[in-house]
Symmetry: C2
Subunit: 228 residues, 2 copies
């Protein structure tokens, strides 16, 4: 059985805040145990790291998006599909004004894997538990409507589970070999957070941590991508 | 708190089997309650419906894939990215030989929404509970490595949650408006099932069912899709 618990009571985050201390306090005394996966929306990570820009008007927002993009893949009206310097393909280079202070926009963390690693180290020190950390963002997809949360930074937990060579229940070798488990965990955690409520952290319990994956493992190399 | 429980003890499914009866029995006496969402991999639905083809060799498999596709979007080596008659974009038109009897391949259900609706009606009759049903398949994505489970058939539960007009925690109107919750539920359920183990059903508890969505709600209309 897998359990997903939203962490309530995390205050509005400002630059320089100790996110690990706030999460550990919100989780309560025995709130985090071995093998728990702490899933955090990047927005609070970015705010704690000061990855926030001031924007006075729509024009400045559009310039900021282009400034944060490594490449523009498609454009239609106000919609800009970008590749970020990290390699993520998403709308508006991840620049987001929702749940940001008025007149500001939240950027992606510089290096979400490094952020995840630092947060994990601090959380493990505070709690004594062996944990995984996944930092998420909300991305659109080709071919399917709506958005889902995905993993952009990972520490201490499997990114992609490779079943190559494993047999299915009939003894036949699996055709499906690589499962994007960290993205599935990110999506699962979003169900407990809720977008409008602004709950930025959830704890997923009941999975094995597996190996120490990276958010960049989930980026398909452009040369292997048939849809760019 | 959201809880995801794999349903153990469902036997190998054959054409004509009563899937609802098997699921209800595997769930046990009080195993399904109001607002539970029953997530089922399409493979057992297809098998129960007889949507299985005999294939003797690789050549016949490749012909079957093209026969099941409404259109081929991209092709590289053995990889064929197709649009199915339902409108789903996926590899090999959803034809899958994993967890299929030797010499056979499992096809997509004719109408996954209709299958979900029938399964829900039968499960509600057997259990007396008000339920949601989601039928899933495992799809690849553009831009990101690995595969995730998505919803292809839905009954009695929200497909896409529209937050348009809702305010964020700061009182600003949300920029992210449409959340593909049924896909997030499908991904969450896959974490409890496990591909190689062949557990085909999981129960998600702790969410509100919302409105009566359709799997087809999650298909982006080709005219609005910038990546085809």
């Amino acid at each position: 059985v897998i359990e997903i618990r939203p962490l309530l009571g995390i205050p509005e985050i400002e630059a320089g805040n100790d996110l690990a201390a706030m999460i550990s306090e919100a989780a309560g005394g025995d709130g985090l145990v071995d093998d728990d996966i702490v899933v955090v929306t990047h927005k609070v990570v970015s705010k704690a790291e000061g990855a926030v820009a001031t924007i006075v008007d729509e024009q400045q927002y559009r310039e900021l998006v282009l400034d944060q993009a490594a490449a523009v893949l498609r454009r239609r009206g106000d919609l800009v599909i970008t590749e970020t310097p990290h390699g993520f393909v998403c709308a508006n280079a991840g620049v987001d004004r929702s749940n940001a202070a008025p007149g500001t926009a939240v950027l992606l963390p510089d290096d979400p894997d490094r952020s995840a690693h630092g947060l994990r180290q601090n959380l493990e020190r505070l709690t004594g538990a062996r944990l995984g950390v996944i930092i998420t963002d909300t991305f659109g997809r080709a071919w399917r409507t709506g958005l889902v949360d995905v993993a952009i930074g990972i520490s201490g937990v499997t990114s992609v589970l490779d079943l190559k060579g494993e047999a299915d229940a009939m003894g036949r070798e699996m055709e499906v070999t690589e499962i994007a488990v960290a993205d599935e965990i990110a999506a699962a955690a979003d169900l407990a957070m809720g977008k409008a409520t602004g709950i930025p952290v959830a704890v997923v319990r009941g999975l094995r941590l597996g190996d120490d994956g990276r958010g960049t493992d989930l980026i398909r190399h452009p040369s292997e991508d048939l849809f760019r």
